[in-house]
């Protein structure tokens, strides 16, 4: 019997003569976690889609428990014991957890009570704390993922493939997810794990395979890797110093105060918080989940409403403002680059150019009846070139881009509005290391151009690398401020926790 529960040999996948994956071999053992790493466009997703029967390889062979298989659909792959959990869950939102679990495997006569009891027993056997009668739409991201995993295990999956499972999870949910992976390992399930968070891969996996430009670079045991060696293998050059290794020696001097938030309040999320943002500086905002960072800046940008009574004051250029909707904030020069780009950041089926043009219309299009296609094309072309968006043309649909390039489109859409203050909320979440470096470069360029820049991030090394001054939030308010050259990880974390 083969050592591997799943083995892919010399897999190649070509799209119109272009190789997405070329001659890659990979093996997965029972009860082990195998991390698949690489920049966006390195071929990770294509490789896993071959395993899960979503796409068929141009050449190469797939073995499950030593048997040569050729799954033509995900359903066939599932029959063979290979399940894939995608970033966007495939649960039916209006159905209950129990109904979702048994969907497609119903009997002729189903008793709801029996299904619920069976679901409860099964979830408990996996040690998953999910209520089977709750509808899927009411579940948080982590619990949705639990149901997806449970469904895969219920169908006797021997291999479960996770594509960026932690991208949308909070730190608490991530911990829960890693516990789940531990449970799966104990049950002898092989796990393939794609992530851009290198620390997670180092913490959770047993083996690591790194791909670059569709080609296999290295496979080895996780203990033989560290962050720098992974980054080097992923991008072919040493980026770790450029990314997070260098501390700021010289911080930018604060310019004019652009934004002043005074005693801002919103229900239990934002509690009398006060701070300022200055032109020509990058203000990093750090805090644990629930610290109210995103909510505070969403209020500033008019995406959320502050308290009706005594909601505090927001001054933009020393002028009091109170936005009920985002449009006037955009017109006043506030741009908010969302943390959830897929839901709030762009229209995925529209072209790059049209998405950016929508941003321009939001600021300058008031009273306009007709739009110009030529203007849209020119705009798209210039921003694709300005921000080095890797796309065939500005007419390409955003959904066809990698995560990093999608993020650049979201940024371009905001920058095209010629803002005075740009708020980046988790700007590099779900973005590969090469694109992280480029996005940081864009952020720095904005500050050098004397714009007021805010970077909200949960990733401490990013905050410390990119910020000129660091605000720390805790329980709905800014509790501490550090100059970047005096801050240490310990000091920031202490302020965020205590």
């Amino acid at each position: 019997m083969s050592d591997y529960v799943l083995e892919l040999r010399n897999a190649t996948k070509r799209y119109g003569g272009v190789s997405a994956v070329e001659d890659v071999s990979i093996g997965l053992r029972r009860g082990e976690v195998h991390a698949l790493l690489g920049e966006n466009g390195a071929g990770k997703s294509t490789l896993t889609k071959i395993m899960a029967g979503v796409v068929r390889p141009s050449s190469g062979s797939l073995y499950v428990e030593g048997q040569l298989v050729e799954p033509r659909t995900p359903h066939e792959a599932l029959q063979m014991g290979v399940a894939m959990v995608f970033q966007e869950t495939s649960l039916v939102p209006t159905m209950t957890v129990a109904q979702n679990l048994f969907l497609g495997h119903e009997k002729v006569f189903n008793r709801l009570r029996r299904i619920n009891i069976a679901a409860q027993q099964f979830l408990q056997s996996l040690n998953f704390d999910v209520d089977p009668v709750q509808t899927a739409s009411q579940l948080g991201a982590a619990k949705k993922q639990m149901v997806e995993i449970a469904r895969a295990v219920l169908l006797n999956a021997k291999v479960i493939i996770f594509d960026e499972p932690t991208a949308t999870l909070t730190p608490e949910e991530k911990k829960h997810f890693f516990d789940l992976v531990g449970t799966l390992k104990k049950r002898g399930v092989g796990v393939v794990f794609i992530s851009h968070a290198l620390e997670e891969a180092l913490a959770v996996s047993d083996w690591i395979t790194i791909l670059r430009d569709g080609k296999h670079v290295v496979t080895d045991q996780t203990v033989k890797f560290d962050r720098a060696s992974i980054v080097k293998a992923m991008v072919g050059r040493d980026l770790s110093q450029t990314l997070y290794g260098q501390r700021k020696k010289q911080t930018r001097r604060a310019g004019r105060r652009v934004l002043s938030v005074q005693d801002l309040r919103m229900s239990s999320m934002v509690k009398s918080t006060s701070f300022s943002v200055f032109a020509g500086q990058i203000t990093g905002v750090f805090g644990l989940v629930g610290a109210g960072r995103t909510e505070t800046f969403k209020i500033v940008a008019g995406l959320l409403k502050r308290d009706f009574f005594h909601g505090g004051e927001v001054f933009l250029h020393d002028r009091p403002v109170r936005y009920l909707v985002p449009a006037p904030a955009v017109r006043d020069g506030i741009a908010y680059v969302t943390e959830d780009r897929k839901v709030e950041g762009f229209f995925e089926t529209m072209s790059i150019g049209r998405n950016i043009y929508m941003g321009v219309l939001a600021r300058f299009g008031k009273g306009r009846v007709l739009t110009k296609l030529s203007e849209e094309r020119e705009l798209g072309k210039s921003w694709v070139s300005n921000l080095a968006v890797r796309a065939v043309s500005a007419g390409m649909r955003v959904i066809e881009l990698s995560g990093g390039n999608q993020q650049k489109v979201v940024i371009a859409k905001s920058l095209a509005q010629e803002p005075q203050i740009i708020i980046f909320d988790e700007p590099t979440r779900g973005v590969d290391v090469g694109a992280i470096s480029e996005i940081h470069e864009i952020i720095n360029r904005l500050a050098d151009a004397r714009k007021a820049v805010v970077v909200i991030s949960s990733y401490l090394p990013e905050i410390m690398t990119v910020s000129d001054r660091i605000l720390v939030c805790r329980q709905g308010r800014v509790v501490e401020e550090f100059a970047a050259n005096e801050a240490t990880e310990d000091l920031i974390m202490y302020a965020a926790v205590h």
């Binding site: 010289q250 938030v261 009574f309 505090g312 401020e481």
Partner: protein, 369 residues
């Protein structure tokens, strides 16, 4: 009509114009303990102002003009019949002094004509700052027409706006009022071709530009979290701006409550008014804002302060570069004057009755940051 309804709803809900908030002290105004850690040079019973030519330091203490000797001793230069309220060193020599806020005299310089008691037909009543101009003239801030120099709190609580800035010339013929109707101007300084001044009750530093006959006033820094006072030049460009205390929401609230304020001014001893003070912590009768209450005898440094010590280093563009603080739990409060001399920044803490100094070399890193 809509504006009236909006105003009424804002007042009801505590929003918009009716919101009571204070700007945060962050960025270049981030608190530290530099003033509290400053070296004490001398005790001053009634220090009011400092002046310097870069080497020698002059002090206005009560009725006396003193010079600080290198050993730290105070030497009497001149005595006056009443309290000195402002000092300025003139570039051509001589010291200008304001006596009881009502008279400006120059000693040690014969080119200045007699003393001045009025400008533009109005008597001087509250001269709180003097500064020299490049053309040999002088700027004087007459902070209030209604109250004297020691009654600043009464002027604030009366919503005073009778301050003015006057220009004095050596021969007296060119004396004139530059701008009037200000809310307690407490410092003025000539910067290039502009005139900058601090306006305490408007919490700003503003500048006067002349467009034709009418002076045009615009803000250099607005919405300061403190009450700005005197300004002096800083080596390397820019200025030192002192702020005699920090703002707090209790005072802002009382300023909107007319009936309460009137009763307080009629019935309560001025030492215990809800008003900005130069020092605090001397009596249990002092009104406190909630967060200011001591716990086990310890005052929190971030508490809303009744008195505070603050000096702001302004760059040549008027933007704050960094600041020096004595926080709510500190003692060197009520800084009313800051001047450079012999490589030190001398600070007059009127609240603590002390002359302090900070080594400028120790601030170089902040200066260049």
């Amino acid at each position: 009509m809509i504006a009236l309804l909006k105003e009424a709803s804002d007042r009801l809900l505590g929003r918009g114009e009716a919101a009571i908030t204070v700007p945060p002290m962050d960025g270049p105004l981030k608190p530290n303990h530099i003033i509290d850690n400053a070296e004490v040079v001398a005790e001053l019973d009634d220090g009011n102002d400092l002046a310097s030519d870069g080497e020698t330091l002059w002090i206005a203490e009560g009725r006396h003009l003193l010079r600080l000797e290198p050993g730290g001793e105070k030497e009497l230069v001149s005595a006056f019949p009443e309290v000195l309220t402002a000092l300025a060193r003139l570039p051509a020599g001589g010291i200008a002094a304001a006596i009881a806020g009502k008279e400006v005299v120059v000693i040690g310089k014969s080119s200045w004509a007699s003393s001045r008691r009025s400008v533009g037909g109005k008597a001087l009543g509250c001269v709180t700052a003097l500064s020299a101009c490049r053309d040999g003239g002088m700027l004087a801030t007459d902070s209030s027409a209604d109250t004297g120099p020691n009654e600043y709190a009464r002027d604030l609580l009366s919503h005073g706006k009778s301050g003015r800035i006057c220009r004095l010339t050596p021969d007296g013929n060119g004396d004139r009022e530059l701008v009037a109707g200000l809310r307690y101007p407490f410092g003025a300084y000539e910067v290039a071709n502009e005139l900058w001044f601090s306006e305490s009750w408007n919490h700003r530093v503003a500048k006067i530009e002349r467009n034709g006959a009418m002076p045009h006033i615009s803000s250099v820094i607005d919405r300061l979290p403190a009450y700005p006072s005197r300004m002096s030049p800083a080596a390397g460009g820019g200025m030192w701006l002192t702020c005699f205390t920090a703002r707090r929401r209790l005072v802002e609230f009382v300023l909107r409550e007319d009936r309460y304020r009137r009763m307080m001014m009629q019935e309560v001893d001025p030492r215990f008014w809800v008003a900005p003070m130069l020092s605090s912590g001397q009596s249990f009768l002092e009104p406190l804002q909630g967060g200011n209450v001591k716990t086990l005898g310890i005052s929190k440094p971030w508490a809303p302060p009744r008195s505070y010590g603050l000096v702001v280093r302004l760059g040549p563009d008027g933007l704050p570069k960094y600041s020096l603080h004595s926080r709510a739990d500190g003692h060197h409060h009520g800084i009313v004057s800051a001047v450079e001399a012999n490589g030190y920044l001398y600070l007059l803490s009127k609240g603590a009755g002390l002359l302090l100094r900070v080594d400028l070399a120790g601030l170089t890193e902040r200066d260049t940051a």
